[in-house]
């Protein structure tokens, strides 16, 4: 064990070269990460493994002494996620250290076959433990990235648009689960207050499935908007969704609905005492220009 680490220190350059050559031979997508970066990562790992704090044993990868190695593996996994490597490619990076290590052990530890076998076994398990750790770190890092992206999506996908002075529209896009529904409701209510709007159009053209939970959330949002003094119009109900809602037994009788956003807008203009007219001699209907996102 001590011998093994000493041997690694003395042969670090050779191990590094063999390891990198092995990696090059199996690399499928070399363009993902630069050779320089891979070399740097491999060198750090080798240095850290062969110089652990005293009393640290290869047999126990979860011990305190290997914390720096685990941290380094986490750092590598983050860079792999960012570069778009797969989890197996990331683990393969460590598995490729096995052949050079075994070769070195065979050449230099010329003691008994038993000892040879033991050292190979210990090395093998240690590298497996590192590979497992980097794979887990990879998944953890990727989940973090996904969670962040989802949060960004949540914010992105609830833009309240001012269609006209006093008329808001909220196009709901995607699955309206409870978290999303909460965000939708909050941003709508906030916009109603901020813009002092009397009409809010909730457009569900972009919602793939309207089940009872989605309907319940929509009804809650509409009720809350009413309490804030705004009248809500539900638009974008496709024919198949309308039929499904009826079969489910959901009662939308108290809700003003229109099939298209444009119709809902016309209704809101109408109710707020405005009319859309056509100028004499102009054959294209005048439509209200959409204002910016608030």
């Amino acid at each position: 064990m001590v011998k093994l680490l000493k041997m690694m220190r003395e042969n670090q350059e050779r191990l590094l070269t063999d390891w990198l050559n092995g990696l090059k031979a199996i690399a499928q997508r070399r363009d993902l990460i630069s050779d320089v970066e891979v070399r740097e990562q491999a060198r750090k790992i080798l240095t850290l493994i062969s110089n652990p704090p005293p009393d640290t044993v290869l047999e126990d990868f979860s011990s305190e002494g290997w914390q720096t190695v685990r941290d380094q593996l986490m750092a590598i996994s983050i860079s792999r996620v960012a570069h778009g490597s797969s989890p197996s490619e990331t683990a393969q990076f460590l598995f490729s250290l096995k052949p050079p290590m075994f070769k070195l052990i065979r050449e230099q530890l010329t003691t008994t076959p038993d000892e040879l076998f033991r050292e190979i076994d210990v090395t093998n398990n240690f590298i497996d433990a590192m590979a497992l750790h980097i794979a887990e770190s990879y998944i953890e890092s990727r989940d973090k990235v996904i969670a962040r992206q989802q949060e960004e999506m949540l914010e992105l996908s609830t833009p309240v648009v001012t269609l006209w002075d006093g008329i808001l529209a909220l196009p709901v896009i995607g699955t309206l689960d409870s978290t999303r529904a909460q965000m939708v409701m909050e941003s709508l209510l906030q916009a109603i207050v901020q813009t002092n709007s009397r009409f809010a159009i909730l457009d569900i053209t972009g919602v793939p499935t309207v089940d009872t939970l989605v309907a319940q959330h929509l009804l809650k949002t509409i009720t809350a908007a009413r309490l804030m003094g705004a009248e809500c119009i539900l638009s974008g109900i496709r024919p198949q969704i309308a039929q499904t809602i009826v079969h489910l037994g959901i009662n939308l009788n108290d809700i003003v609905t229109r099939s298209k956003l444009a119709d809902a807008f016309r209704l809101a203009l109408d109710r707020s005492g405005r009319t859309v007219t056509q100028k004499p001699g102009n054959h294209t209907p005048v439509t209200a220009p959409a204002a910016g996102v608030s």
């Binding site: 793939p208 499935t209 319940q216 039929q243 079969h247 489910l248 037994g249």
Partner: protein, 140 residues
């Protein structure tokens, strides 16, 4: 003369229902199958909606479970069968639970009764020992 065709399963798949994300997968997977098998848009919408209701029940009332999805053929006729099972507490009074508006969890209470109306066949088994199994079928 009338020949009785045998009902055969031409395709099947099992999906877990353990998390909220699984509900999204269930809907997406059912929709993919239905469009591959050329169900009409209206059928697709009804079946996906029923799947969403029953999968959520398995998750929220049954503590999680799975959905088995099978494509059936009887002669030239095609259908889809969805079987939702969980090992939750079961439903004490099924006839009550099947009533419009009955809920024990602040929902709309239309998931079970609504799914029955959206599908051609509806079957439910439930006990405190074995949990709940809801099987629904819709023929093309």
């Amino acid at each position: 003369m009338r020949t009785v065709s045998e009902q055969i399963i031409t395709r099947s798949e099992v999906l877990p229902i353990r998390t909220q994300i699984d509900l999204v997968h269930v809907r997406q997977r059912v929709r993919t199958w239905l469009s591959e098998e050329r169900f009409t848009l209206i059928d697709q919408t009804k079946i996906v909606t029923a799947a969403s209701e029953l999968a959520r029940n398995a998750l929220e009332h049954g503590g999680g479970g799975e959905m088995e999805m099978s494509l059936l053929a009887v002669g030239a006729r095609k259908g889809i069968r969805l079987k939702f099972s969980d090992h939750g507490p079961g439903i004490a009074d099924i006839s009550k639970a099947m009533k419009d508006g009955y809920t024990t969890a602040g929902g709309m209470g239309l998931g079970l009764s609504g799914s029955r109306r959206l599908m051609s066949e509806f079957e439910i088994q439930s006990s405190p020992e074995s949990g709940t199994v809801v099987t629904v079928t819709r023929w093309k």
